[in-house]
C-alpha cells in the first residue's frame, strides 16, 4: 500500500504542469535572470581605470613631479594603470567634464593644482588623493632639505629626491592580505534562489497533503475511507512530494553549477545535506499552512507563495544587503526565516567552510521543521471533522 500510494502521488505531482512550473521551471528562469543581471556587478564595484582630463598648459609641463606621476599612472601597458588621461585645453576639458566623459579635470594654476569635478564619487576622491600625494611628496622634500640645511649640511637634493620618490611611490610598506578567499558576494543571490526553490517545493507537499485531508476536498474524503491508517497514506504521500522536491532541486543544482557556474564551496556532501534540510523546512512550512490556515486550496497556495517571496526578500533575493541588515539589526527575523537559514548555510559553507555556523543553520532548519510539524500535529492527526 505504501509503495502504491507513493508511486501514484509521485505520478500525479510529476504530471501537474502548474506545480512543475513553480517548483522546477521558475527557479531556473529566475536563476538565468540573476546570471544575466549580476554577471557584471562585481567588476563594476572594483576600482576601474578612471577617465580624467589634464589641462595641458605651461604650468603643467613645467611641473616635473606632476607630469611624471600622471605619465606613470596613465601607462596603458602597466598593471598599475590608474587613469585614462587626455591632455586638452581648458575649454575642451570643461566640455568633457560636463558631458560626463571624464570624471575629473586637473588644472595647474601656477604651482597650485586645482581639481574640477562634476559630482562626488569614489573616482573623484581617488583623483584628489593622488594629487594630494604629489603635494605631500613635495612637502616632504622641502622639509628634508630644510632639516639638512639647519644641520649645516649641504643637501644632496638629487639623492634626496630619489630617496623620497622611492619611498612614496615604491611603497615598501609591509602589508599582508589576510582576507578570506571566496569573496564573490553575488553568490548570495543564487543561495536565495536555492532557498526559494526549497520553500516553493512545499507546494508539492501541499498538493499531496490536500488529497489526504477530508476537509480539503473530495479526494481527501475518498482517501479517508480507505482501510489504511491515515498516518501511512499521509506519510507516503508526503515522502513522494519530498522526493519530487529533491528532483527539482537536483536539476537546479546541476543547472547552477554547470551552466551558471555558481560556487558552493568545496564540501558537496554538506551542500546536499543543507538542501535536504532546507527542503524539509519547505515541506513542513507547507504542511503547516495546509493544516492551520482555513481557506481553500488556492488561498493556501497564495499564502504559501506570499510567505516564500517575503522570506526570500528578507534573505536578500532583491538586494543582497538586505540579508546583512536583517542579520545584524533584526536578528530575531533572521532566526525564524527558513529562507535565511538556507541562504546563510550556503554562505557559511562557501565563506567559512564546514564550521559552527553551518551546523547552527542546519540545526535551525531542523528545529523549524519540528516546530512546524508540532503546530500542524493536531490538524494532521484529526480523523473526524466538525464539518467537511
Amino acid at each position: 500500500m505504501f509503495g502504491h500510494n507513493f508511486k501514484y502521488t509521485f505520478k500525479v505531482l510529476m504530471r501537474n504542469r502548474m506545480l512543475l512550473f513553480w517548483t522546477f521551471v521558475f527557479p531556473l528562469v529566475l536563476g538565468t535572470m540573476f546570471k544575466l543581471a549580476f554577471s557584471n556587478i562585481e567588476n563594476s564595484e572594483k576600482l576601474n581605470v578612471i577617465p580624467i582630463a589634464i589641462v595641458d598648459n605651461e604650468d603643467f609641463q613645467g611641473n616635473e613631479a606632476f607630469r611624471r606621476t600622471f605619465e606613470t599612472l596613465s601607462d596603458e601597458s602597466s598593471d598599475e594603470q590608474m587613469f585614462d588621461t587626455v591632455y586638452v585645453s581648458k575649454d575642451e576639458a570643461d566640455t568633457l567634464l560636463s558631458d560626463g566623459d571624464v570624471d575629473g579635470v586637473l588644472y595647474m594654476n601656477g604651482a597650485e593644482p586645482e581639481i574640477w569635478i562634476h559630482e562626488n564619487g569614489i573616482n573623484q576622491t581617488v583623483l584628489q588623493y593622488v594629487v594630494d600625494e604629489i603635494v605631500h611628496t613635495s612637502a616632504i622634500m622641502e622639509k628634508r632639505v630644510q632639516n639638512e640645511l639647519e644641520q649645516g649640511a649641504m643637501p644632496d637634493i638629487e639623492g634626496l629626491y630619489k630617496n623620497v620618490m622611492e619611498q612614496v611611490a615604491g611603497r615598501k610598506s609591509n602589508l599582508v592580505d589576510a582576507s578570506r578567499a571566496n569573496m564573490s558576494y553575488t553568490m548570495i543571490e543564487y543561495y536565495t534562489l536555492i532557498a526559494m526553490a526549497c520553500l516553493y517545493g512545499g507546494i508539492l507537499g501541499m498538493t499531496a497533503l490536500s488529497r489526504n485531508l477530508p476537509n480539503m476536498g473530495n479526494l481527501g474524503k475518498r482517501t479517508a475511507i480507505v482501510p489504511i491508517s491515515k498516518a501511512k497514506t499521509m506519510f507516503s504521500s508526503l515522502l513522494a512530494a519530498y522526493c519530487t522536491q529533491l528532483i527539482g532541486l537536483a536539476i537546479l543544482f546541476v543547472y547552477t553549477i554547470f551552466v551558471m557556474k555558481v560556487d558552493y564551496g568545496e564540501n558537496l556532501p554538506y551542500v546536499i545535506l543543507l538542501a535536504l534540510a532546507g527542503s524539509l523546512a519547505g515541506l513542513t512550512l507547507a504542511i503547516m499552512v495546509t493544516t492551520v490556515v482555513k481557506t481553500g486550496e488556492n488561498g493556501k497556495l497564495g499564502i504559501l507563495i506570499g510567505i516564500t517571496m517575503a522570506c526570500c526578500f528578507l534573505s536578500g533575493m532583491m538586494g543582497i544587503t538586505m540579508k546583512y541588515i536583517i542579520e545584524k539589526h533584526v536578528p530575531f527575523l533572521d532566526k525564524i526565516n527558513p529562507a535565511s537559514m538556507i541562504t546563510d548555510g550556503y554562505y557559511a559553507l562557501y565563506y567559512y567552510g564546514v564550521d559552527k555556523r553551518f551546523w547552527m543553520d542546519v540545526a535551525s532548519l531542523g528545529i523549524f521543521s519540528a516546530f512546524m510539524l508540532l503546530v500542524s500535529a493536531q490538524g494532521l492527526r484529526r480523523q473526524k471533522y466538525d464539518s467537511i
Binding site: M1, N5, V12, G217, N218, A224, I225, V226, S229, Y385
Partner: protein
C-alpha cells in the same frame, strides 16, 4: 434479513441547526435502500457520519455488527463510497485512477487487474481507459467516479447523488450498474432527490426532511400513507354541475373539482373507481374526450407529510 448498518439516535449539530436529528434506521443485507429528501435534508451528513468522517453529537453507528470508527480498517475494507462530487485525479488516466483507488484496498496485483477490468466493464468506460478526466464528458466522469468507488468489490456501497447533472444515457447506465452490484450481492445505500430513481431502483425508501425520518417503507407502503388512492382527470365539454355535487357526496371521494373543461376527482379508497365513474358519466349523459388515471407519486406523499413539494 440481517442489518448491515445500524444507526441509532444519530444527532449531528452544526452551530445553530440540527442537520441530523435523532435518526435511527438500518440498512439490510442485500437491499437497495433509498435515502430520499430535498437538498439540505441531511442525507450527505448522515452518510459522512456513518463513514466516521464527521463528528456527531450523539448516537451510535454499527457496520457489519461492529462499532464504526476511523480506525476500523476491517470494516472499511468492505465499504465503497461514491461521493456527490467527482473525486478523481486530473493527472491520472481513467485506468490509473481506478487502479490507484482500488490499490488502496486490494494488494494483489493480479486480483486488482481483474477488479479494475470488471469495474470498467460495469460502467462502460472501456474505450476511454487512456483518457484523462478533463477529456471526459460530465456523464462519463460520473461513471469514472463510480468505478473508482466500487472497483474493490465492496459489500456495502454508499452512493451519494451519483446521477446529478447526468445525461439520460449515462443515468440509465449508472442505474443498471447499481442493480447489477446488488444482484452480485452488495448492499446499497442510495441517496437522491430524484423520486423517480428511487421508485424504480430501491427496495426500501427512507424519506428525510430536516434531519428527521418522516416516513419509511417500500414504494407501495409509502404511497399507502398518502390519503389518496387514485387521481382521475376527465376532459369534457358538456358538464353538469349537479353531477359534481353528486360526486362530492360520495364517501370514497376526497375531492372533486371542475374547471376549464377538466374534472379532477381524487379517491380516498375503493376499487374499480374508473369503471364505476364511466358508468355514472354515461348514465348522466356526459360525454368525455379523455380520461387519465394516476396513482399517487412519492411527491404526493412528501407533500402530504410535510406540506411542501419534494422538488425545490
Amino acid at each position: 434479513m440481517s442489518a448491515v448498518v445500524e444507526v441509532k439516535n444519530l444527532t449531528k449539530e452544526y452551530k445553530q441547526k440540527k442537520a441530523v436529528d435523532d435518526l435511527s434506521f438500518e440498512i439490510r443485507q442485500g437491499e437497495i435502500l433509498g435515502l430520499l429528501g430535498p437538498n439540505g435534508s441531511g442525507k450527505s451528513t448522515t452518510i459522512n457520519c456513518i463513514l466516521s468522517l464527521l463528528k456527531y453529537s450523539a448516537g451510535s453507528i454499527k457496520i457489519f455488527g461492529e462499532e464504526m470508527t476511523p480506525d476500523a480498517y476491517k470494516i472499511k475494507r468492505d465499504i465503497g463510497v461514491i461521493f456527490q462530487e467527482v473525486a478523481v485525479f486530473e493527472e491520472l488516466t481513467v485506468y490509473e485512477n481506478i487502479d490507484y483507488f482500488c490499490g488502496l484496498y486490494v494488494k494483489d496485483k493480479q486480483e486488482r487487474k481483474k477488479d479494475i477490468e470488471d469495474a470498467i466493464a460495469l460502467v462502460g468506460l472501456d474505450e476511454f481507459r487512456k483518457y484523462y478526466p478533463k477529456q471526459l464528458s460530465g456523464g462519463l466522469l460520473r461513471r469514472l467516479n463510480i468505478a473508482c468507488g466500487i472497483a474493490h468489490k465492496p459489500k456495502l456501497i454508499f452512493l451519494d447523488e451519483p446521477t446529478v447533472a447526468v445525461d439520460p444515457q449515462s443515468r440509465n447506465n449508472i442505474l443498471d450498474g447499481i442493480r447489477k452490484l446488488r444482484d452480485d450481492g452488495a448492499t446499497i445505500c442510495y441517496t437522491t432527490h430524484y423520486m423517480e430513481e428511487v421508485e424504480i431502483l430501491c427496495d426500501r425508501i427512507i424519506i428525510l426532511d430536516r434531519g428527521k425520518i418522516i416516513a419509511q417503507g417500500t414504494s407501495d407502503e409509502l404511497k399507502a400513507l398518502a390519503k389518496i388512492e387514485e387521481k382521475v382527470t376527465i376532459e369534457t365539454k358538456h358538464f353538469k354541475p349537479e353531477f359534481l355535487e353528486k360526486l362530492q357526496a360520495a364517501p370514497n371521494v376526497d375531492k372533486a373539482e371542475y374547471a376549464g373543461h377538466q374534472l379532477v376527482i381524487t379517491y380516498k379508497s375503493g376499487k374499480n373507481n374508473v369503471a364505476k365513474l364511466i358508468e355514472e358519466l354515461s348514465a348522466a349523459g356526459i360525454t368525455c374526450n379523455k380520461i387519465f388515471s394516476e396513482r399517487p407519486t412519492l411527491n404526493d406523499v412528501f407533500l402530504e407529510l410535510t406540506g411542501k413539494e419534494l422538488r425545490d
